[in-house]
Amino acid sequence: MSDHHKETFISKYVFSLDHKMIAKQFLITGMFMGIIGMLMSIMFRLQLSNPGESFAVLEWFLGSKWAPGGILDPNMYLSLVTMHGTILVFWVLTAGLTGTFANFLIPLQIGARDMASGFMNMLSYWFFFAATIILLCSLFVETGPASAGWTIYPPLSALPQAIPGSGLGQDLWLVSIALFIVSSLLGGLNYIVTILNLRTKGMSMSRLPLTMWAILITAILGVLSFPVLLAAALLLIFDRSFGTSFYLSDIIIGGEALHHTGGSPVLFEHLFWFLGHPEVYIILLPSLGIVSEVMSVNTRKPIFGYKAMVGAMLAIAFLSFIVWGHHMFITGMDPFLGSVFTFTTLLIAIPSAVKVFNYLATLWKGSIRFTPAMLFTIGFVSTFITGGLTGLILGDSALDINVHDTYFVVGHFHIVMGLSAIYGMFSGVYHWFPKMYGRMMNKKLGYLHFWVTFIAAYGVFFPMHFLGLAGLPRRYYTNSAFPMFDNLTDINSIITFFAIVGGLVQLVFVFNFFYSIFKGTKASENPWESNTLEWTTPVERIHGNWPGEIPTVHRWPYDYSKPGADKDFVMQTEPLKEGKTEH
């Protein structure tokens, strides 16, 4: 398998077909977008804690049109919020997270030379890249980028008369998302087929590492839900550009009555959330897989309840298709439907609880090695608990009445989806960096990065629940228009302070990442003493992954501290002893 045709720079780094290189392309694009999205959040946090105050940085970044005199323009505020949400949800935590770890880990962990179709894989990245460029271009549009929220509810997103961002900015947003969907479908198809077909000898489904299960389920969710978003977007494009009335009806805007009749904005919400809710699990599941793996390696214990973990992920994935209505309790939907959605939503708490208890049981009597990856894994368990619990309030239709669309929601989803997924992603990067680049990331900087992030992130998002309970709506340019929110300024200042600290400390990570690529200490083949197949590949990364035969698998991946073994880990490639059975 060592076909030594000469690789050019272009074929190696740009139009690469090698899954490991494509993974890195996704990772670096995702990190770049992550920095932009984070900068945006800091900009609008400045406005929220110090409304109407002048900040030279704002004018410096946004120009005098959108921040005259350093004061953020209300339309630009909404644009920033929208782009921040879009970038973090889709670019960082969907493409950046799944694109990186699915591409990198699938062939390595199941024992394959590459993905089923390297070409489709490359296309997937380049569609993503095109989507990225278009999204970035939309930031510089005369009328501003899209600003109807990442959920782009029409009619706001359909009518440029209603908000300037719904002009060209929204068009570019839609085109960009359409390309993005194509990219993630191409990727998802490949992931599923590769995991199902190209497993090496002995790698039965019940011997798959949990990362593989998580990615498989994620990809299935994506393939089934993204097309529905595409359908929703298509109808929106028709309404915007051709004058159909799928979502629009009985509208007067700018003093003019529009011709649209018979459309229903609620229809869009149904279609959108039919994707939107599975989307949050598309974001979360890969991280669930990553932390399961990292936790097992670093507690030197098998993950507790492997089967239950897989079962819980399957249950969560299945339920995630029948709960979308919990985003729509107060759209005037039939109260009976509301009851059904409350019921299905709260059911998701059961598999989630099982996962949490299994994680705690895995830690119990472990022999924990605190690598930076392990710390982020513990951070993940914490945010998963905290965010999951507030979900009980939002999923309960009666309670949702008063917290819907308030900062309570912002606090909830940032913790359960934003932070958990980001922690999983960091955990994965620290853990697999040695395999990606053949070098180690700096441990001390890793520790610093984790502790400051952990504290700052809770400092940002925990207080938001209180803002929500005080009735503060989200997507408000300032809280100063209502005297009832005047006593919340302290909380807002605390949040902004921690947002800046949390943002700055990410630079430590970026620095560590690039420093270690070039100057990090050399890694050995299996630095964490893990069991899975990727750690049997040589440090020198080659096309085809293994220089000789692909190894055969004889056992599950979690034989850590197995009684009777001579080391505290037994790799999947080691045959079972005579007469011994698995587990």
Partner: protein
């Protein structure tokens, strides 16, 4: 110029950092150890930090509750709001309990089981069916209770009997609210967006008999303990009528009518006495609707029956304002 300076300083900073790291790595190489290997000492330190940060975190949560609960919304000023409040209390107690049970376990295990000389190997413990059944069944039972309680509350709120309620239309547009009382006949006259013209900003059908006694206002007055039925409309984008003190929220969707029924139980005067002179009931917009979304409000006043009647008597009906030629 300043930009170039800033850039230079940044580059120098990064370069210095690189050098510091290099030196520390070279030093450790001299001592024949790997800087990036996680040692027993690291495990001990990180375990301790985990415990300390964990305690601080839980402490800060307590601190936030103690300090910020007084800033939260006062108890509900509506009948169904009381139901929501007690459901909220029940759920809050439950989740705070689970939070304060699971988190200490997480931090404690992390601290206690760090790898060191006394704890060199882990306990091989791949599964335990009995335990797993327990922690599937117990959450299921608890959730069943939560679901049943929640659904009964939801049912009582959404299926409230509205036959005696006073009907008021809330009309949303960028970026303000208008209300229309149904008048003596308690039936809103027909309206249509195509009829919006001049002063008739709600598009009320002036030929409709039911419209004549309707009353259009920019500030809503309600009589305490008298049930109302709000009917929401929007004429441009989606808005959301949010009355946090009454625990009322419903989207206003163009092309659709939505509704929410409630009964105020406290007057503005009572609330002022309790919460301070500045207190007012307000209606906010809670669905992103454009540049001035953050400032789309209307005052609600709850008063005694007599005060309300006096106020109503002073308002002009559609017949007296719009219909007359």
């Amino acid at each position: 110029m300043t930009n170039i300076l800033i850039a230079l300083v940044l580059i120098l900073l990064v370069a210095t950092l690189v050098q510091i790291l290099r030196v520390s790595e070279l030093l450790s190489e001299l001592k024949k150890q790997d800087v990036n290997e996680v040692t027993d000492k690291d495990n001990a330190t990180q375990g301790k930090i985990l415990l300390i940060v964990g305690v601080l975190f839980l402490g800060s949560v307590v601190w936030q509750f103690v300090n910020w609960i007084p800033l939260m919304l006062p108890p509900a000023s509506s009948e169904h709001g009381a139901v929501i409040d007690s459901l909220m209390q029940f759920t809050m107690v439950l989740i705070i309990f689970v939070f304060f049970v699971t988190h200490p376990i997480l931090f404690w295990y992390g601290y206690k089981y760090n790898k060191n000389k006394k704890n060199p190997v882990a306990f091989f413990y791949p599964h335990n069916n009995k335990l797993e059944v327990i922690w599937t069944v117990v959450p299921t039972i608890v959730l069943t209770a939560v679901i049943l309680y929640g659904l009964s509350a939801w049912d009582s709120i959404t299926n409230a009997d509205t036959s005696d309620s006073q009907v008021i239309e809330l009309y949303a547009k960028q970026f303000d609210w208008t209300a229309r009382y149904a008048g003596e006949d308690n039936t809103l006259g027909f309206s249509n967006y195509k009829l919006v013209k001049g002063p008739n900003q709600l598009g009320v059908d002036l030929t409709d008999e039911f419209s004549q006694d309707d009353v259009v206002v920019r500030e809503v007055h309600l009589a305490v303990n008298k049930p109302v039925l709000l009917k929401m409309h929007s004429r441009d984008v989606i808005h959301s009528a949010f009355l946090p003190h009454f625990r009322v929220q419903m989207n206003c969707v163009p092309g659709m009518t939505t509704q929410f029924a409630f009964t105020p139980t406290q007057t503005t005067a009572e609330m002022k006495a309790q919460e301070g002179e500045d207190f007012e009931f307000v209606l906010l917009c809670n669905k992103i609707c454009g540049a001035a979304h953050y400032n789309m409000q209307m005052k609600f006043v709850v008063e005694t029956e007599e005060e309300y009647n006096a106020w109503m008597a002073s308002q002009k009906t559609v017949k007296n304002t719009l219909t007359k030629k």
